[in-house]
């Protein structure tokens, strides 16, 4: 740098592009540096450390001394409780896509039409998503408890025989949990779909109408293909959310009764207490599963994007 400043002015001119390059690089380093350090320090480093801790038998206190290789992973994958938790995560994932998706698209299509009170409906549907997760969870927990509001209502309207401990019955608890999750997250899905619908040009629908297509045909052949990218993004977010599901379960059931609503993240917290090495192994498995699912979906989603409705016209 001293050389540059010491150099005479005429020589400077041809060097300008290179000097600009150095300056640019410095600027890049300066602006991305802090973010990069934070990202490396608080995201990448913990992931690497978790992978490292997972190879030890460690009670969280004192130095890492007892290296045990992959024993923590073997132990986790042989624990029926953990396998059940993985199964629950995937059950929620599949149910979300199969039930919440069509439901959200249907409601979004309805709300996209001109009708009275549309703004109010839109706001109401979005309310659960805005509620804090813990508050919503506690409200549901109180409503669904054996002496709670749901059972009280059922008894008042003469359906007392349907009353039961909703979150304490291992046979139905996961289903009840899914209903709560649907209530909580459907608003978000609908909002995304509505946003997607805003991007569908009115002209295409008019053109279809002129060609004699009825409302169903228009939705099926025009609207749905055009909002497919939105649907795929929602599926992606929903899958990641399902795999990492924690807070709603923790607040309402803590994974119970007898593991019926347990998820990987809940299992990690409960079994990682006093054994952070084992907990780290669970975290790494959760990370790996999420990563694989995300990558596989992105690959297939991208393939579908290329063969999607917008480009298929060129193929024909």
């Amino acid at each position: 740098m001293t050389q540059t400043t010491a150099a005479p002015a005429p020589v400077e001119a041809p060097r300008r592009p290179r000097r600009g390059g150095v300056r640019q690089r410095l600027e890049i380093a300066l602006f991305t540096g802090p973010a990069l350090i934070v990202f490396l320090g608080f995201v990448i480093l913990p992931v690497v450390l978790a992978a490292y801790y997972s190879l030890f038998n460690w009670n969280g206190l004192g130095p890492l001394e007892r290296f045990i290789g992959f024993d923590n992973y073997i132990r986790a994958l042989n624990d029926p409780a953990f396998l059940r938790a993985i199964g629950n995560n995937f059950t929620i994932l599949i149910l979300s896509i199969l039930i919440q998706g069509p439901l959200a698209i249907g409601v979004a299509l309805l709300l996209n039409r001109r009708m009275r009170g549309r703004a109010i409906f839109r706001a109401l549907i979005f309310v659960p998503y805005v509620l804090a997760e813990v508050i919503a969870g506690l409200a549901w927990k109180l409503l669904l408890s054996p002496r709670g509001g749901v059972n009280g209502l059922l008894e008042d309207i003469g359906l007392g025989e349907l009353a039961q401990p909703w979150l304490a019955n291992p046979d139905i608890a996961l289903g009840v949990m899914f209903v709560i999750l649907t209530w909580k997250y459907l608003g978000f899905a609908i909002l995304l779909m509505l946003a997607g619908l805003q991007g569908v040009p009115q002209e295409l629908q008019e053109a279809a109408a002129i060609d004699g297509a009825n409302w169903w045909q228009t939705q099926w052949r025009i609207t749905l293909p055009l909002i497919a990218p939105t649907i795929r993004i929602w599926i992606f977010l929903s899958m990641i959310g399902s795999l990492q599901l924690f807070d709603m379960v923790w607040v309402t059931t803590k994974g119970g009764p007898v593991g019926a609503t347990n998820t990987m993240a809940v299992y990690m917290l409960q079994n990682g207490q006093g054994a952070p090495g084992y907990g780290s192994a669970i975290a790494v498995i959760l990370f790996a599963i999420s990563l694989v699912v995300a990558l596989v979906f992105q690959r297939t989603a991208m393939r579908r994007d290329l063969a999607g409705a917008l480009t298929s016209g060129e193929d024909r």
Binding site: N57, L61, T253, K254, P257, A275
Partner: protein, 428 residues
């Protein structure tokens, strides 16, 4: 240009300093200037106990000019499972903090975080007697208890009278009869917070005490050897008792202490008649009554004897809370702990009814009838077995209690509990 480079350099330097500054925040816990700061963490999040600890801290500050005591109460599980282990591991530990007996004090002491109090508090250790043993590791005292009591059955005297139960059950068959009578008047006989796992765990621990001989208990836990058939017998006793259906509706999702639908809440509302719990229970039930007071109808009796086991009927199950001092704590912390262990502070602890004082000199200050019964039960015990999850250590808590709750839910067997114990032991 030169200026610009300088400015750039200054910026980089400034951000580096800022980052280092963040990293440098975790210094020693002494305050500004000559003032000594003692950081004290406990688990009392409501009065009267929270107020007592605050008063004690203020009195200590007055008596020791230049010492500042920063006292904070945290929710028990957060404190025990997250806050303290993380603080110890990060090297920024509180100076005085709650230490749980058994496995927990052992792992903290072995990792070198706790100050050896054997000589510092030799007078207090002698004064307290055998109650300090659960906080002893390899013959050295690493924490001083401030409360110690045994688990028993808390019950609603009014509901018992309504159901026509004239005397408290002393044997398991009598308890079963009481359960039937209580069902007859339409109340939930026994509340159990199996949603939190450990309250259900305590039932199995109690049956293990009834099934196993004292010698087996004393050797199995340190050796982690659960081959004695009595450990399976404990689960079978529990299964037999569960067949009576003594527990509240939806017990699998019932929490222990939070809200009206917790087992404490069911007791407070008079919906359930009994709960098997530790000595803190009058306080946590009282917190859930309409007026926030401990109900007058609350009674206590020791767990009934169980026929058919090898267990000594005079053995009881219990535990307590202690104070430990970090190795890095200022010397004044030892004085604070001595003050906390004094008969004076312990008597005030006893008088507010938050638990049984560990200092025997303070037992006479107990005013609460139930705590007096517990103290009497404790005095009559031939041996007090620490709650098994405490005795075995934090890594055992969840697998053991989950396996026990599986028996409650009808999806697990007595053998599964022993397998969970053995699997966890193998991973230690």
């Amino acid at each position: 240009m030169n200026n610009r480079t300088k400015r750039l350099g200054a910026l980089i330097a400034a951000s580096t300093v800022a980052l280092l500054g963040v990293a440098g925040c975790t210094g020693p816990s002494s305050g500004d200037g000559d003032e000594v700061k003692i950081v004290w963490w406990h688990n009392a999040t409501s009065d009267p106990l929270q107020g007592l600890w605050a008063d004690v801290a203020a009195e200590f500050e007055d008596a020791h000019p230049g010492v500042k005591v920063e006292v904070t109460g945290y929710q028990n599980e957060d404190l025990q499972r997250t806050l303290i282990p993380n603080a110890l591991q990060s090297g920024d530990a509180p100076d005085l903090f709650m230490v749980w007996p058994g496995g927990e004090v052992r792992s903290q002491a072995e990792a070198g975080y706790l100050r050896d109090l054997t000589s510092d508090l030799s007078a207090e250790i002698a004064e307290f007697g055998g109650v300090v043993k659960p906080w002893e590791v390899d013959g050295k005292q690493y924490a001083m208890p401030f409360s110690f009591g045994i688990t028993g059955i808390w019950y609603n005297t009014e509901l018992f009278a309504q159901a026509g139960i004239t005397s408290t059950p002393t044997t398991l068959p009598e308890l079963v009869t009481a359960v039937e009578k209580l069902k007859g008047i339409g109340v939930e006989p026994i509340a159990v917070g199996a949603g939190d796992l450990w309250p259900a765990g305590h039932w199995w621990y109690q049956f293990a005490l009834n099934a196993c001989s004292t010698a087996t208990l004393q050797s199995a836990i340190p050796d982690l050897d659960f081959s004695d058939p009595c450990w399976i017998k404990a689960g079978e006793m529990l299964e037999d008792f569960l067949a009576v259906e003594p527990f509240n509706k939806g017990f699998l999702a019932t929490p222990a202490q939070t809200g009206a639908d917790s087992s404490n809440g069911l007791m407070a509302a008079g919906v359930a008649a009994m709960e098997f719990m530790g000595p803190w229970n009058s306080g946590t039930i009282g917190a859930l009554t309409e007026d926030g007071e401990v109900p007058e109808w609350l009674g206590w009796f020791p767990f009934p004897s169980v026929p058919g086991g090898a267990g000594d009927p005079t053995i009881t199950m219990g535990g307590g809370d202690g104070w430990g001092i970090s190795v890095d704590a200022p010397e004044e912390t030892v004085e604070l702990l001595k003050y906390l262990s004094s008969a004076e502070v312990q008597s005030r602890f006893a008088a507010i009814g938050s638990g049984i004082p560990a200092n025997p000199g303070a037992a006479s200050a107990l005013t609460d009838e139930n705590l007096k019964s517990i103290a009497a039960g404790l005095a009559g015990s031939s041996y007090v077995q620490l709650w098994l999850d405490s005795a075995l250590g934090p890594a055992f808590g969840n697998p053991l209690n989950q396996a026990i709750v599986n028996i409650f839910g009808g999806t697990g067997t007595p053998e599964d509990v022993v397998k969970a114990l053995e699997d966890t032991a193998a991973a230690q």
